[in-house]
Symmetry: C2
Subunit: 200 residues, 2 copies
DNA sequence: CTTGACATGTAACGAACGTTACATGTAACG
DNA sequence: CGTTACATGTAACGTTCGTTACATGTCAAG
């Protein structure tokens, strides 16, 4: 059974996904949910407590969505970066990343207020993908670059809304990596191991 | 001669560079500058007017700094992306970009309030660099990717403060582009034109 | 010396903020 | 039926917000 607080939390997550958190205020928020500021404080102790629980719930939701992606992909051999990108820019998941990036930036300028809500940033998501890189390429520089390509393109997507062009840029990066591999000498040991698995 | 307002504007830019704008408030700001909220409104009409003028002045400052970079580099043939990166992460210029990215993100979630202050975003800076790309590579996807690499790495730098690793990632990207070029067949016309100029 | 433009100080306005006090419903359980 | 825990409504607290009213300095030009 779902407690009143859990129901509220779900609705609050949806509200935050839509309105962001830079100008969050209890009374308009309560009005939008058909409740009162009084009730929000009653259930969450304070605004800070509310944000803690709601943002935590939000990140849990996103991780669940990611979990189901991993299940679905299972046997497929599509490029991990492309797959992650397509998943992230889905109508369903896009608002989550948008909120995470807002949180990230607010934490940079005001760590005392927002830093505590930041469990893991979006870059850490990309590190998951980095595990799909061949070991020889899994250097800090390459992992950082991979994460940055995702972060930067998502930022561009948020600003311009241009899914087509940003997705093309993802493919451009993958192609770049492929071409660079072709230009390098084949790796010394077991060059053909799992040769059919495409990475990048 | 500098008017009182211009002096104030300069001090205000410095204040914004240090404190960001997500929780800007007139009274603390005035206190920090040794003046009063009354005076700020007197000179700038309103908080909005103040932000308009101060952010405008801020972007002007940054463009001037960029201008002097262009002058200094003149004959050099270092990689444009690396040069731009080194310039941006300077102690002097870093805060400007930090503020610009905060502005950018705030504008995404709250365009009605912050959108008007955004003349050009940092990506547009990168488009300047893109002009250094060989024409054949100056596709929308490649230009977008180039801008995203800068944006993403700067975001990572802001979050972690790790200049070394992020700079290595810049170099990693440049190397990737170089290797990819090596893997492609030489361009059909005038392959050797300005062959000594290194790009990327 | 007077005028007038610029600059400033003091104090307050109304609105919104997060939070709290206090009283009251609702509904399951003994 | 009475008790108890959860939920809610109304109203206010003290603070801060952007902004304004009104009076007063400063100082060069006439």
């Amino acid at each position: 059974m779902q407690t009143r607080k859990e129901i509220l939390t779900d609705e609050l997550v949806d509200y935050l996904l839509e309105h962001g958190l830079s100008d969050l205020s209890l009374r308009p928020l309560a009005d939008a949910l058909g409740t009162s500021a009084r009730l929000l404080i009653y259930h969450f102790e304070s605004k800070e407590g509310l944000l803690t629980e709601v943002l935590d719930s939000m990140q849990t939701r996103l991780r669940q969505s990611f979990g189901s992606l991993v299940e679905r992909r299972a046997g497929q051999s599509e490029r991990p970066l492309k797959m992650f990108w397509d998943w992230a820019i889905t109508d369903e998941n896009y608002p989550y990343f948008k909120l995470l990036y807002e949180l990230q930036i607010l934490a940079v300028q005001n760590p005392a207020v927002y830093g505590s809500y930041l469990q893991r940033n979006a870059s850490n998501w990309s590190e998951l993908i980095a595990t799909a890189l061949p070991e020889a390429e899994r250097t800090p520089a390459m992992v950082t670059l991979l994460g940055a390509v995702f972060d930067g393109l998502f930022l561009e997507l948020m600003s311009t809304g241009d899914r087509k062009r940003t997705t093309q840029a993802v493919l451009q990066f993958i192609q770049l990596v492929d071409e660079a591999r072709a230009a390098r000498p084949a790796s010394k040991k077991k060059t053909a191991k799992a040769s059919s698995t495409r990475r990048g």
